[in-house]
Amino acid sequence: MAATQEEIVAGLAEIVNEIAGIPVEDVQLDKSFTDDLDVDSLSMVEVVVAAEERFDVKIPDDDVKNLKTVGDATEYILKHQA
């Protein structure tokens, strides 16, 4: 069953916590991965790959650069999840 917006944000928060050590409560829709959450371009790739596995979605390299905020990623996953 497809994940809801809340489930996706919660999942992303766990992933970002695991990869970058950011507290889960800091991961909010309006937060920028690079500017607010200290997720650099390489960690972002790890976040994306973990998100792909967790939400059964494909996020090609070309699309990764458009995912600036947690909201962008959530929306992308909502739209593309299997």
Binding site: D40, S41, L42, M44, V45, E46, V48, V49, D61, V64, K65
Partner: protein
């Protein structure tokens, strides 16, 4: 029909000795920062690189190869006349013909050893090792010298903040010879030419000659795409090489991945779930990315510092422009 007599080789092959050469000039991040808008902290956190070596005018591809090869021969206890093959992997030797391997074979004092260059980017060491193993098992050479050598500083755009700090120069060499026991496992290798744009020379030489571009060609890459491929796809390849050798991560003593970026190395270790006892090469910190030279250079350093010892079981994996890759398990010399 005439019956052709088959050649007869050794039962198995092994690495008998390793040698490296690092150019005398050590270049810290501060020097790189003179040309790009970045910081020491940024470079270290994105790549792990603190210093790299850049070759001077006298430290040619040939000169560095001769130094590394001399050490490898001494380490192996083999004389140059015993060498039947010289394989050089490089992407930064600027005279395409003749192969630089022939000059190296001659200057080393081999007895007309078969000599040729290969182009397999950062997987060049594994490609060369696999060819050497084949030559020894098949009987066309008893001892083969495999050299990875680069002057990547010649192919670095010092104004590109994404790559200016990345590359270094140096040479690493191994002597491969006959063995009664298997000491080089099956190679898992391949190419993914559909991803050729991911790491490449900016433009062909002829574009520069014809004035189509002003800038001398340099190596460029798509950082995120390379990172994803290197960490997640190459971890699968590394696992396949372990499986092919009939080993599990617990059987390993050492992991020597191509020294592309410490973040790639750390993530690969995590993805592969390597046990704590496995020594991981992180020569990148003071050597930079030396492409084909990185694995033998890292191997030499681990043995020299005592972090690894002769007889240890090491997983080696190279990956890079092509895209190409090669992984195998070896017994350290």
């Amino acid at each position: 029909m005439a019956k052709i007599k088959p050649s007869k080789g050794a039962p198995y092959a092994r690495i008998l000795g390793v040698g490296g050469y690092r150019p005398t000039r050590v270049v810290p991040n501060e020097v790189i920062l003179e040309r790009i808008d970045s910081s020491d902290e940024w470079i270290r956190s994105r790549s792990g690189i603190e210093t790299r070596h850049w070759a001077g005018p006298e430290e040619t591809v040939t000169a560095m190869s001769l130094e590394a090869s001399g050490k490898a021969l001494a380490d192996a206890g083999i004389s140059a006349e015993q060498i039947g093959g010289v394989i050089v992997s490089t992407v930064s030797h600027f005279r395409q013909t003749p192969a630089v391997a022939t000059e190296i074979a001659d200057k080393l004092g081999t007895d007309k050893a078969a000599a040729f260059d290969i182009s397999a980017g950062c997987a060049g060491f594994g490609y060369g090792l696999t060819l050497a193993k084949g030559m020894i098992s098949e009987g066309s050479a008893q001892y083969v010298l495999v050299i990875g050598v680069e002057r990547l500083s010649d192919l670095t755009d010092l104004e590109d903040r994404a790559t200016a700090f990345l590359f270094g120069d140096g040479a690493g060499a191994v002597v491969v010879g006959p063995s009664e026991e298997p000491a080089i496992g099956p190679t898992v290798w391949g190419s993914e030419g559909d991803k050729s744009d991911t790491i490449k020379q900016t433009v062909p030489w002829t574009d520069y000659r014809d004035g189509t571009v002003d800038k001398f060609p340099a190596i460029t890459q798509e950082g995120q795409a390379v990172f994803r491929w290197a960490v997640f796809e190459m971890a699968k390849v590394a696992k396949e090489a372990l499986d092919a050798a009939g080993l599990s991560p617990d059987d390993l003593d050492v992991f020597i991945p191509h020294q592309a970026n410490v973040r790639i190395i750390d993530s690969m270790v995590k993805t592969l779930k390597l046990p704590e006892h496995v020594t991981v090469a992180r020569d990148i910190r003071t050597t930079g990315n030396t492409s084909a030279a990185s694995i033998p250079l890292a191997m030499e350093r681990l043995l020299a510092t005592g972090e690894a010892k002769s007889g240890d079981t090491a997983l080696v994996i190279g990956f890079g422009a092509g895209l190409v890759y090669a992984a195998t398990v070896v017994t350290l010399p």
